[in-house]
């Protein structure tokens, strides 16, 4: 597994993992069937009732008839008696319940894995054409082979070039081009559906023809037996050729995104295969069931033949498709290139095979054994073929989404289809008279009915009878169950709609914050510039801390760094809290910024505090307090005591007052990181004050400010 992943990447790896997973399904099925149905029969009745004259010939492997017909491979040879051994083992009930149990288990396993994969891989937008995604998220770290790495690098550069050129070309298509595209799409869809139905009809007529030439006798001539091989042969041939034909459509059909192309391919393939299977099942249910005496075995044989031929054709397809085109690509026509491993096509084949196996469970309980062999051999053949012949896929495929789609495909048409066919058989069709566990009854389900009647005689099991009559057989129960499920689905759907709206709003909020930040930074810088200018023009005004020989950059940088530190801090707080960010954060940051700006202005001697151009005051308390404090301190020059700010020196109280006011404002807004911010402010404060005292010692004070900030941050680091 590791080397496959290392050389070909994860999308090819998903194919092999899928194969392993299907293998597990079949193993479980085989064990259950063999254990519960076959073994009791073998134990009880050693000798299979083979009529004379029939012995094992090699042809049986191919046709499934003849000798195999009378073995435990098929439905027909299971008895309907109650085997008396250690316990009274009712074969009818055993058969019925085993198969239903297996189907239920399968269904549950599929639903769970589909939900899990959906949860992990669901994506809202389509980033595939996004160059950011291509650059940062697509590199497959598990590729370890040198050649593969080189190839991937090439692919990536090709894709990037493509997407660059696509971006340049994304102009509006003219009307005629649109019509042309539409015409091409319509044509190809008509062609593919026509092909699907045409093949279905062809199979139907072929079956009719075959039916006319077969009889119900127990001995067939070899020619007749060979004729039975015709249908599976044709079916498998079609299965091989038509998907290749669909893949050709890619050449002349242009889709707007790769995703749509993949979806279209998937839908076409599924339609084709399902139509063939539907025709075959119809034929079996309606025609074969009426004609033959032991029709379930006949259906089982037909399924066996289909499975076998499918296997043969898969091997042949691997040989011709990959080996030969590798030869051709290398030696004869190098322009064609070495073939790629087409994950999608191979997975469809696997799903088809599994569908056959699921349909066949009812008619031939040991069919999973053959499927197990098939999976096993296929795994090794494909691995060898991959290593020898193929090159990694060109497009870095979106493996995770493909996986979700494939599991959903496995569940929905494949499993549900098989289940419905088996259910239809069990419910409506009359079992054959002479063979099988359900001989002589009206339908299969009546076995359970008979059992329930027997149970009624046994005292103490009235509850089972009650459940049977009122829950399983009553329609009202199912009606209410369906209603409840629909209501729950509707509620969940509304919840997701609400969440989508919320996501969009939050995204918008992030963008707005970024714009806020850059706007305020710009404002700050402008302010610095204008102050500098003002200082230069009026040197006799009270110049406190802005000395001329300090470059403007340092001061604005200190401020800007303080701002940035705070902003980064906020962002991290928000991202770490993980929940919905409290909108109050925004006014907090802007209020603090404005408080700082206000203070700065005040120190430059501008007393008009009411002039606050362009500043939106959202949380006015902080700013108001700061302003008031500043004004009060400026009018009366008193030395206040410094509460809690221990390391202030004996400097002007104006700024101290403002600081204190701001600190209380911050505390009142309960901002948890306020101590860091105050430290920053205080550090800057110290810088300013020392500048006030000694103008030329500017740079060291600023350095101190920055060091204090760093210290504050480190303290926070270590104290976490």
């Amino acid at each position: 597994m590791k080397e496959i992943g290392g050389r070909f990447g994860t999308s090819v790896l998903t194919y092999f993992l899928f194969l392993k997973w299907l293998l597990m399904f079949n193993v479980v099925s085989f064990l259950i069937n063999f254990g519960f149905i076959t073994i009791p029969l073998l134990v009880y009745d050693h000798s299979p009732n083979i009529p004379e004259g029939v012995s094992f010939r090699g042809l049986e492997l191919l046709t499934g008839a003849g000798y195999f017909n009378y073995s435990v491979l098929y439905y027909g040879s299971y008895s309907n008696e109650t085997l008396v051994g250690l316990v009274a083992y009712d074969m009818k009930l055993a058969y019925f319940f085993t198969i239903s149990l297996y189907m239920v288990l399968c269904g549950i396993a599929l639903i769970f894995s589909m939900a899990k994969s959906f949860k992990k891989n669901y994506v809202l937008a389509d980033p595939a054409s996004n160059s950011a995604w291509q650059l940062l998220c697509t590199w497959d770290f598990s590729v370890t082979n040198e050649r593969a790495v080189k190839q991937r690098k090439n692919n990536l550069s090709v894709q990037l070039k493509e997407s660059l050129s696509e971006g340049a070309q994304k102009e509006m298509l003219t009307l005629s081009e649109k019509m042309k595209h539409f015409g091409v799409h319509l044509g190809s869809w008509l062609l593919s559906t026509g092909l699907a139905f045409g093949c279905g009809a062809g199979i139907y007529f072929l079956c009719q023809y075959e039916q006319q030439s077969t009889t119900d006798e127990s001995s067939w001539t070899p020619l007749q037996e060979a004729q039975t091989l015709l249908v599976p042969f044709i079916v498998s041939l079609m299965n091989l050729v038509v998907p290749l034909f669909y893949a050709l459509f890619k050449k002349f059909e242009v889709y707007s995104s790769q995703r749509k192309q993949i979806y279209a391919l998937v839908v076409r393939n599924v339609l084709f295969k399902m139509s063939i299977l539907a025709v075959l099942c119809y034929y079996w249910m309606h025609v074969v069931a009426k004609k033959f005496s032991c029709w379930e075995s006949m259906v089982g044989q037909a399924l066996y033949r289909l499975v076998f031929f499918d296997f043969l054709f898969l091997l042949l397809g691997s040989f011709f498709g990959e080996f030969l085109s590798n030869l051709i690509g290398r030696k004869l026509l190098p322009s064609l290139g070495v073939p790629e491993f087409d994950v999608a096509r191979n997975v469809f084949e696997l799903i088809y095979a599994q569908t056959l196996s699921w349909i066949g469970i009812y008619f031939s309980p040991l069919l999973p054994a053959i499927q197990i062999l098939k999976c096993f051999i296929l795994f090794y053949v494909k691995k060898v073929s991959l290593a020898q012949n193929c090159q990694p896929p060109q497009r870095t495929g979106r493996a995770a989404q493909m996986q979700t789609i494939l599991i959903a495909l496995l569940f929905f048409p494949s499993f549900v289809g098989a289940l419905s066919i088996v259910a239809y058989t069990a419910w409506s069709l009359t079992p054959s008279e002479q063979c099988g566990p359900f001989r002589g009854q009206n339908n299969t389900f009546s076995a359970v009915g008979v059992w329930i009647e027997d149970l009624q005689q046994i005292p103490g099991s009235q509850w089972a009878v009650w459940i049977y009559h009122h829950v399983i057989r009553s329609e009202v129960f199912y009606f209410f169950l369906a209603l409840i499920v629909i209501i729950i689905i509707y509620i969940f759907w509304q919840v997701t709609q609400g969440r989508k709206l919320l996501i969009a709003q939050l995204r918008q909020q992030i963008i707005n914050e970024g714009k806020d930040k850059s706007f305020l930074l710009d404002k700050l810088q402008n302010l610095q510039k204008s102050n500098q200018y003002v200082k230069q023009k009026h040197p006799n005004k009270r110049t406190n801390w802005r000395s001329k020989d300090l470059p403007k950059g340092d001061q604005s940088e200190a401020m800007a760094q303080a701002l940035l530190a705070k902003q980064m801090f906020e962002e991290e707080e928000r991202s770490s809290s993980g929940g919905v960010p409290v909108p109050a954060d925004i006014p907090t940051s802007s209020a603090l910024l404005q408080a700082m700006l206000a203070r700065q202005r005040a120190e430059d001697g501008e007393f008009e505090v009411h002039r606050m151009p362009d500043m939106h005051l959202s949380s006015s308390s902080a700013v108001a307090q700061a302003m008031q404090a500043r004004q009060a301190s400026l009018t009366r020059d008193s030395d206040q005591d410094y509460s809690g700010t221990g390391f202030f020196g004996d400097t002007s109280s104006a700024v101290v007052q403002a600081m204190r006011a701001r600190q209380t404002a911050e505390d009142s807004l309960s901002y948890s990181g306020s101590d860091v911010m105050t430290q920053v402010m205080q550090a800057r404060q110290r810088a300013e004050e020392s500048l006030q005292d000694s103008a030329p010692a500017g740079p060291s004070a600023l350095i101190q400010a920055m060091l204090a900030r760093q210290q504050a941050q480190n303290e926070y680091d270590d104290g976490y």
């Binding site: 994506v123 980033p127 950011a132 998220c137 550069s157």
Partner: protein, 198 residues
Amino acid sequence: MPFPEESRLSVVRLRSQGFSGKRWVINKQSLRMNNSMPTRLHGRYHELAPHLVPMDYTNDPDCKLPLALIVNMPELKENPFRNRIVEAFSEDGMGNLSFNEFVDMFSVLSETAPRELKAIYAFKIYDFNVDNFLCKEDLEKTLNKLTKEELTPEEVDLVCEKTIEEADLDGDNKLSFADFENMISRAPDFLSTFHIRI
């Protein structure tokens, strides 16, 4: 053979350099590493430098292997980001890994590591100048590692600009961790591609 307590028990602490204020705690139990992993990893670590790496870790020896040795491992040898990967997990930023850091590296790159952890380390790996932002130069270096001489300088420039334009949400012309994580959350393949098997 006796192992340091940390790698056998539950808590390994990582100091994420540069992410100011956050210390990420990797709980090995939460990574669901099976019990044979530390033994196997120690075997691999030991064979990189048999004469340097002790077999007995009870005294918690201080042994670090240099970048050049680790980068020659077959799992990393062909990876274009091998140097950055090792540097991102080393305490000193120079690529010298102790055994704990070695184990951390492979456990974050394993299948079972949670998405957030992988996103953090992917960000660190792509952040060449270790400034907590993916600026244009970081992206250019990433692109060059991935495509070497295939793209012309103008194309490189275009791609990087497009990337920033598409992923940058708050408009500062570089990608912060939040932007990166947002992009990762829309790419479900990331969990399976950011994965090295050992």
